[in-house]
């Protein structure tokens, strides 16, 4: 597909600007400063990714089944209350969640993972729940009418048709997750927050940047990864990206 002339121009301009900024940074010795934190950055990025992966997969492993269970007719009465509770939960700032989990579980990686998992659980449950409820009734009627058991209907019809919405929830959740991981440092969870917050405290802007820039890049990469996964996993017939 041919891009409009203006977009192509904007892309070109951005490239030139980036190159100019890069060479300016090189000239001023900023890159050298940043690179002096290389070893720390590599180690902390590893820790950062570990936190995201563990807390993120836990959130998915808990959130999708929980949302699915809540969407079943027999839980209909309980589901509304549960969703309201979760909605209220989303209004609690993530820093507060981390602080609360520290007061429960002490200092270290465990409370960090727990807090991150809770913070990213909500969008996943909510999207799974609404995604499944939004599967049109006539599809369900057709499915049961041709003799599918409730389980077959869930796996063959409901989940595939809700998958795009579920993936949107996972994407939101992981965006929150990656952005919250730096705060994990505050409760002893490690990650790139160590460079950011220490940099702030010591008034060392380069140290702070050495933490902030990889955090930003990671956030973008995770988002792209989820988008690619959604593109590949959501069935072609119900995937708006592949229309």
């Amino acid at each position: 597909m041919k891009k409009p002339a203006f977009t192509r121009f904007a892309y070109g301009l951005a490239l030139v600007l980036m190159f100019a900024l890069g060479s300016l940074a090189e000239q001023a010795g900023i890159l050298e400063e940043l690179f002096s934190y290389r070893e720390d950055v590599v180690y902390l990025v590893g820790q950062h990714i570990e936190l995201v992966l563990i807390s993120g997969s836990l959130a998915i492993l808990i959130g999708v089944p929980l949302g699915t269970v809540l969407s079943r007719p027999r839980f209909a009465k309980m589901a509304e209350t549960a969703m309201q509770t979760l909605n209220i939960g989303t209004t609690i700032p993530t820093l507060a969640i981390l602080a609360l989990s520290m007061s429960l579980l002490g200092i270290g990686m465990l409370p960090a993972v727990f807090g991150l998992c809770i913070a990213s659980l909500l969008p996943i449950v909510r999207n799974t729940y609404t995604g499944l409820l939004e599967v049109p009734d006539h599809l369900k009627e057709a499915a049961s009418g041709i003799g599918m058991t409730p389980m077959q209907m869930l796996i063959r019809v409901e989940l595939p048709n809700a998958l795009f919405v579920i993936f949107a929830g996972i994407r939101t959740a992981l965006a929150i997750n990656v952005g919250t991981v730096p705060l994990a440092f505050l409760i002893g969870g490690g990650g790139l927050g160590e460079l950011i917050f220490t940099g702030i405290d010591l008034d060392e802007p380069f140290m702070m940047l050495a933490g902030a820039i990889p955090t930003a890049i990671l956030a973008i990469l995770v988002d792209i990864a989820i988008a690619i996964l959604a593109f590949m996993i959501v069935p072609k017939g119900v995937n708006p990206l592949r229309a």
Binding site: S144, G145, I146, P160
Partner: protein, 386 residues
């Protein structure tokens, strides 16, 4: 065969119980289409959906091919009943092939067998497998989608099919086409079909029997012709419409009203033509055929009276002809179009087999109304005295 025995559904609503179906008794013979017809809220859909337990019944029994379904496992029961709904309900996450093959797959057929079946069914519903097998439902038009819906219902070759306003959401032109295709298919497959509709014209066209519902009760259960000729009460009469006699035209074939016809050949003189016209009591004209007995024109009475010569020199071309299997609606339309009161009827080789006249049609339709006459006369007299 589907037999329904005292089937009842009572819905509990906040405003008290509502009886949606009240002791329905009916039987659909093997291989026939029964259309459940009535205004909305009359219980026709409820009755249909109780058969495959989409709606659980309050009381009563359902027999399929003589077997009481009460004790059957719901999933098992449904896999032996084809189900087509108005919203079609194709699964958008599956290809057309997967949609059609879903029931065979659930029944545990092997891949080769259900793939072959999907292909065969696509051909049956007049869609090209090489184009459609791998497509997704959203890439198809409404009419194409409903063809797939029918194919899916037929996949495991169930003896019984339930169809809930299957063609209701399709535009009128495509609906006619799909109805015709479906009827043609049914002639081969001979499924026992229960079909919900709110459209009397569709019912008359599709049904071997029509069941009229009102307020949860089965009011009349009859063949379309009997229903139109003898509605049991005012409700049915108003429901089938003031033009019910015209609706019957569609149910009668030319062969049922065809009369023998006397003809002339091009070599006969106009005098012979006039003689035969007088003899047969034809009012306007006589048909002329060639040596293979194919109609080629007609000689009008006025020409025969005033002119001398041969028929072959003084005839008019034919305006239209019909076939024995045409329905009378088409014939009546042709007559109106061409301003004529009779039409020759020919077989597939164009050979004359008879004629159909307006008088013949009126007589045929009138004959079945006749048994009504004394009743309506009595009613009229009552009305007068009152």
């Amino acid at each position: 065969m589907i037999r329904i025995d005292n089937l009842t559904k009572i819905f509990e609503t906040p405003n008290g119980p509502v009886t949606a179906a009240d002791h329905i008794n009916m039987e659909v013979p093997e291989g026939e289409i029964c259309v459940l017809l009535g205004p909305s809220g009359c219980g026709k859909t409820t009755t249909l959906k109780m058969i495959n337990r989409i709606i659980p019944s309050t009381s009563g029994k359902i027999f399929i091919n003589g077997e009481d379904t009460t004790g059957m496992n719901t999933v098992e029961l449904r896999r032996n009943i084809g189900y087509v709904i108005q919203q079609i309900g194709l699964f958008p996450n599956m290809t057309i092939e997967e949609n059609i093959a879903i029931v065979p797959k659930l029944l545990g057929w092997d891949a080769n067998r259900y793939k072959a079946r999907a292909k065969e069914l696509l051909e049956l519903v007049a869609l090209d497998p090489s184009i459609f097998l791998k497509r997704y439902p959203r890439e198809l038009s409404g009419g194409q989608q409903q063809r797939i819906g029918v194919a899916r219902a037929l996949a495991a070759d169930p003896p019984v099919m339930l169809m809930d306003e299957p063609f209701g959401a399709i535009d009128p032109i495509n609906r006619e086409v799909i109805q015709d295709e479906f009827l043609k298919m049914q002639q081969e497959l001979r499924k026992t079909i229960m079909f919900v509709s709110h459209d009397i014209d569709e019912a008359v066209k599709m049904a071997d029997r029509i069941a009229i519902f009102r307020g949860g009760r089965l009011v009349q259960y009859d063949t379309p012709d009997d229903l139109l000729a003898h509605p049991v009460d005012d409700f049915v009469e108003s429901f089938v419409g003031d033009d019910r006699a015209l609706k019957r035209l569609r149910l009668v074939q030319v062969s049922q009203v065809m009369e023998p016809v006397t003809t002339v050949s091009p070599g006969d003189s106009l005098k012979v033509a006039l003689e035969r016209i007088e003899q047969q009591g034809y009012s306007h004209a006589i048909l002329m055929v060639n040596e293979r007995n194919q109609p080629i024109g007609y000689v009008s009475r006025s020409v025969a009276q005033t002119t001398n010569g041969l028929c072959g020199e003084h005839y008019f071309g034919l305006k239209a002809d019909t076939r024995p299997e045409d329905d009378l609606r088409k014939v009546a339309s042709l007559m109106f179009n061409h301003d004529t009161t009779w039409l020759p009827c020919t077989d597939e080789h164009g050979v004359l087999v008879g004629q159909v006249t307006q008088r013949g049609i009126t007589h045929y339709l009138g004959a079945t109304y006749h048994r009504d006459a004394p009743v309506s006369l009595a009613q009229t007299l009552q009305q007068i005295s009152a």
